[in-house]
Amino acid sequence: MGLESQQIGRRRLLGAGVLAGSAAAFALACGGSKSRTSSSGSTGAASPQAGALATQVTGQAAPGAAEKPKRGGTLTLTDGSPRSLDPHFDTFPAHTIVANNVYNALLNFTPDVSKIEPELATAMPEQPDQQSYVFKLRQGIKFHNIAPANGREMTAEDVKYSIERQMTNDPGKFQHAYFFLNKLDKIEVVDKYTVKFVTKRPMAPFMSYIASPWTVIINRELVEKEGDLTTKMLGTGPFIFDEWQKDVQHKLHRNPDYWKKDQNGDALPYIDNLVIKIITDPNAAQAQFASGALDASTIQFTFVDEIKKKLPKANYKTIPSQFPRQFRTSPYDGDKIPHRPPYNDIRVRQALIQAVNKKEVLDIVYSGDGVTVTGPILPIYPTWYLKDELVKFDPADSKKLLEAAGHGNGFDAEMIFTNSAGDIPNNIGEVLKNQLSKIGIRVKLAGSDTTSYYNKAYAFVYDIAHHQPLNQPDPDENLASYFGRSSTYFKWGNKQIWEAIDKQAETVNLEERKKAVDVAQRMIVQDYPMSFMFTTNLHCFTQSKVKGWFFGNDFYDGRRERAWIDPTA
């Protein structure tokens, strides 16, 4: 925040100079030219998998699963550029692929995100009562044999230390404190290999939060030596962290003492080195995959046919992205952040949301390569997904609503978004601007780099935005951390919605919880905080020589411990 206000100060100062110095006139045309009938729906270009989520996430066997794995080699993957490597204190997902391979957690999601399995725990926890969870830990699990842990055994104390660290609340930082802060009564070390969690109230998302790739068990000595885990990692996982070269790559090597074995009792992992190149440009990713410099990559939909042609033997599958697109109206928290007019009028919000033709945005920007969504939870989580579309696309009604709200002539609105990751966000902004212009909203597009955008977006002071959040397997994370009473990623000060969200979080019975989640989602959608637009398909490729692992989903992608390289393929 301090940095942001400083920047604005300098900009204003220099801006004054600009006004004084430049005498040029800028006449931008908006001419009276031929008009063409506007219609949405049909699209000109064929897309690889237009119209639907081509493959639901499944537990499909990885290529080469039945063959005898070979040892050695380097697996080169790619991901975005992280801000920090701290799994507890940074919610920016680009570090998670590294964390997934360095750390373990008590529980872990299966790659299809449908089930939770024990990992550092020997079994799922015992529950002496509804609010207590007793985990038995595997014995003899060692931290990586490097300083400062030097192969020390991981015990119940480490579990308590890690979860308590995750509960640290440092305002203004993004962290996962919301998982357990104010929700746990205590974490008790029963003995060296037994740890007991007691929740304050019944806590339906408990298991999901314990299984989150962010609730990993970290090493206390490293935190004490380094002060934090911003640039270093040390865990019990399959790979040992070597280095993070900012904006270049992460390097990891095999943990020779890893505790997990394969079905034949052979030590995992199979590969010697794991390299994660930091690539944010989709063109660069496809070029590097095509040249063989990357062993696995997701490929932008426009390049899929080309890659299939160039590398016919490469393994390919589409999976739905866990990062949906949302068009957001101005947030408020009902306390320090007031609801700015005119967005505090539900008629105005409804007008804006009804003017957004999400299918058209998906068709124009992505050639329809994805699905529109109905609410805060994505269709990849069918247990929780809101089955009905409660918002109609109806610009004519929007105009009436604006008139009734006293904004018949429309109004000006600044739309913020990040455009660091290429031109797609710009394009989405252009289409939304065009759609909103039809009900008289004059949008100014204010795309910026990710840091500047986050500074504005997470100060929660803006008119409108389009955003790409991460959707999680547990409904609570998609509801409470956006619309709940102590939300992190968005603010919505509707107290009735808070209560509905609290209710589902405390409803442990699955069938009852489904109903409670449904009620909460309906309340949210019909309060028109945002348009839940769509999610796109991810086109995942691995080279034919990569065996034993394939993309399971785009985030809870587990460890690469079973991946192996077949030099003969």
Partner: protein, 303 residues
């Protein structure tokens, strides 16, 4: 015509206007006769300027009208240069893009050349500590690669047409001032300047009546060559996402956006903005080269 650099001509005040006009007319005539590439450059520039000025009249469609059913149509009689992924007419967008490119290019070069003249002539005429300090500043800024300097300025000021112009102008002014200073230094040492000073002419008079008119030839050459660079710089900024806002059509923006994303499916999205950009930069460079040859007495007679 060599007399243009002599003090005599400028001092004989009565004849100045008519003889200057005939001089520039002569330059045009010689351009047509002896510099065919320069002439082609000039015609391209004139064509682009006409497209830009008449964009509203020439556009067959509204350049920002999104029509989902007409997306990614190849060039045809309906859409000369095809449509982009939002169903917008590429021809209309490209000629409106010409407007941005030329506005940015001309404004940036006008500002940078004016600033270069002020810095360069001031530095050469006053000399001494003023020259030393000014030139160290120029050295410092010149040490930065041009693109990095422009990127930094835009990153600090934010992206808008105005800021892009200013950023490009600052970059151009600094390097241009060196050329102007060296031209002005030779003029300052001329006997007619000394004569003017001896006769009691003020600094202002000497600068504006004797020095500035005599460095107009290198300044003009600098400007015409700088224009190509400025247009390219604007496209580079747009390509890198730091140019003007995304809903303003620019050639660089079109190349970086739909052009790059769809180049395998829809070649026209990358080819046409690239072609217009290359042609314009080529035009300015050819015209600039020809003007340099025609205006520099040492190069006169070369082709």
């Amino acid at each position: 015509m060599a007399s243009v650099t002599s003090g005599q001509e400028v001092l004989s005040a009565g004849a100045v206007t008519t003889r200057h006009r005939s001089y520039w007319w002569d330059v045009v005539v010689r351009l047509v006769r002896s510099k065919p590439l320069g002439l082609i450059g000039g015609i391209i520039i004139l064509g682009m300027a006409l497209l830009a000025v008449l964009a509203d009249v020439l556009s067959p469609y509204d350049y920002q009208e999104i029509v989902a059913s007409e997306r990614l149509k190849p060039p045809s009689a309906t859409y000369f240069l095809g449509t982009d992924n939002a169903g917008r007419d590429m021809f209309s967008r490209i000629i409106h893009g010409a407007r941005i490119s030329l506005t940015v290019g001309l404004s940036a070069v006008a500002i940078s050349t004016t600033a270069a003249i002020i810095i360069g002539v001031g530095s050469a005429y006053f000399g001494g500590w003023f020259d030393a300090i000014t030139q160290r500043f120029v050295d410092a800024i010149q040490a930065l690669p041009g693109l990095i300097l422009v990127l930094t300025i835009v990153a600090v000021l934010g992206s808008s047409v105005k800021n892009v112009i200013l950023a490009i102008a600052i970059g151009g002014a600094v390097s241009g001032s060196r050329i102007i200073r060296s031209a002005a230094l030779s003029i300052v040492a001329m006997p007619y300047v000394e004569a003017a000073r001896t006769l009691g002419a003020s600094n202002q008079r000497i600068i504006f009546a004797h020095i500035v008119p005599n460095i107009m030839a290198p300044a003009l050459t600098l400007a015409s060559i700088g224009l190509g660079g400025a247009i390219l710089a604007e496209s580079t900024l747009s390509f890198l996402g730091l140019g003007v806002p995304p809903d303003v059509p620019t050639w660089g923006g079109m190349l970086a956006g739909a052009g790059r994303r769809w180049m395998l499916q829809a070649w026209w999205l990358a080819v046409f903005p690239g072609l217009f950009l290359s042609l314009t930069v080529y035009g300015f460079n050819m015209l600039g080269d020809a003007l340099r040859d025609l205006l520099d007495p040492r190069l006169r007679g070369t082709r």
